[in-house]
Amino acid sequence: MNEGVVWLTIFILSVFVGIEVISKVSSTLHTPLMSGANAIHGIILLGAILVTGATDSTLALVVGLVAIVLATVNMVGGFVVTDRMLQMFTRKKPAPKNEGAR
């Protein structure tokens, strides 16, 4: 089996899955979803670790370490900021109920 076609297959199927899983998102969740997806592409950290771990020149090492710092900020910051946004969502919900009960 042609390896390039295997990669293409994974790519095409992922495109359809990516569209399908978020197709029913409510408009209030647009920003947290964008933020969560943003955190997921922070997985480039994995790529940064793989290339940096294989470097031997000093310049390449420095570039690789910069890439690791940037990718980590993307990944960790992305997930934390998404969680903060969603925390706000879950807190909002009980509030109107309580006011109604009063």
Partner: protein, 287 residues
Amino acid sequence: MPTWVQVVYLLCAIGFILALKGLSGPRTARRGNLVGAAAAVVGCVLPFIYVDHLDHVPLMIGAIAVGTAGGVFGARKVQMTQMPQMVALFNGVGGGAAALVALLELNHMLEVQDALDALGADVDAYGWFVYAATAFTIFVGSVSFAGSLITFAKLQELMTSRPVVFAGLPVAFGLMLLGGVGLSVLTVTDAAIGIGIALCLVGLVFGVLLVLPVGGADVPIVISLLNAFTGLTVAAGGYVLSNTLLLVGGTLVGASGTFLTLLMARAMGRSVGNIMFGALKGGSTLG
């Protein structure tokens, strides 16, 4: 790569799918985000376990610690009203990281090819499509980095949030796009690290020009679009590095991000084309 590692990468990829699925429903959103975070952490720990000759481990762990501190600090300190620009900033640094990773990989590919040529072997170590994917990652990653920094500056009011248009903008825009395509073709035909760096610089200028004409109110949609761009660069990087998790994770974000951009534009009653280029045609998009 051992089989068990490939299986764990698959499980992480499933984690990302479940994360996006969870994030699109109000009840499951927070859990979805945590599932995504867990999958990302597991994926990034793996190379430390299975790669035989991973060099510079202490330095890399130090860099991860610095990045974690910066990310947590930024994410916790930001005001609720400033969330969109924080997402833009995180997205931008991710795009920058992808471009740097691709530059390093291009450097590595050239070294391998040089070693083969020195042996007198008349073979191409990498196919043309690998070079094309590397060029794509360098260019679009740089566009995403520079574009996101401009969106950040606009929302943070470090610069005017009104559309910035000057007389030669469409010409400069076209020239940068042509330059990007031309340098990408050169990367495939006569790859050199200098061409990669030039591609990076052209991408940075193109990213700035792309976002300048967008008005402040439309900026969140541009952030979403650049987010999808970064996803696609990560996917291309995954192909170059032969890593399935990067390919699947990046493609998921690229596809769902593009779709989300269309949904957001529709919710605002605008078309994406009008948001990006409306100011160039004279139809103003006031911020």
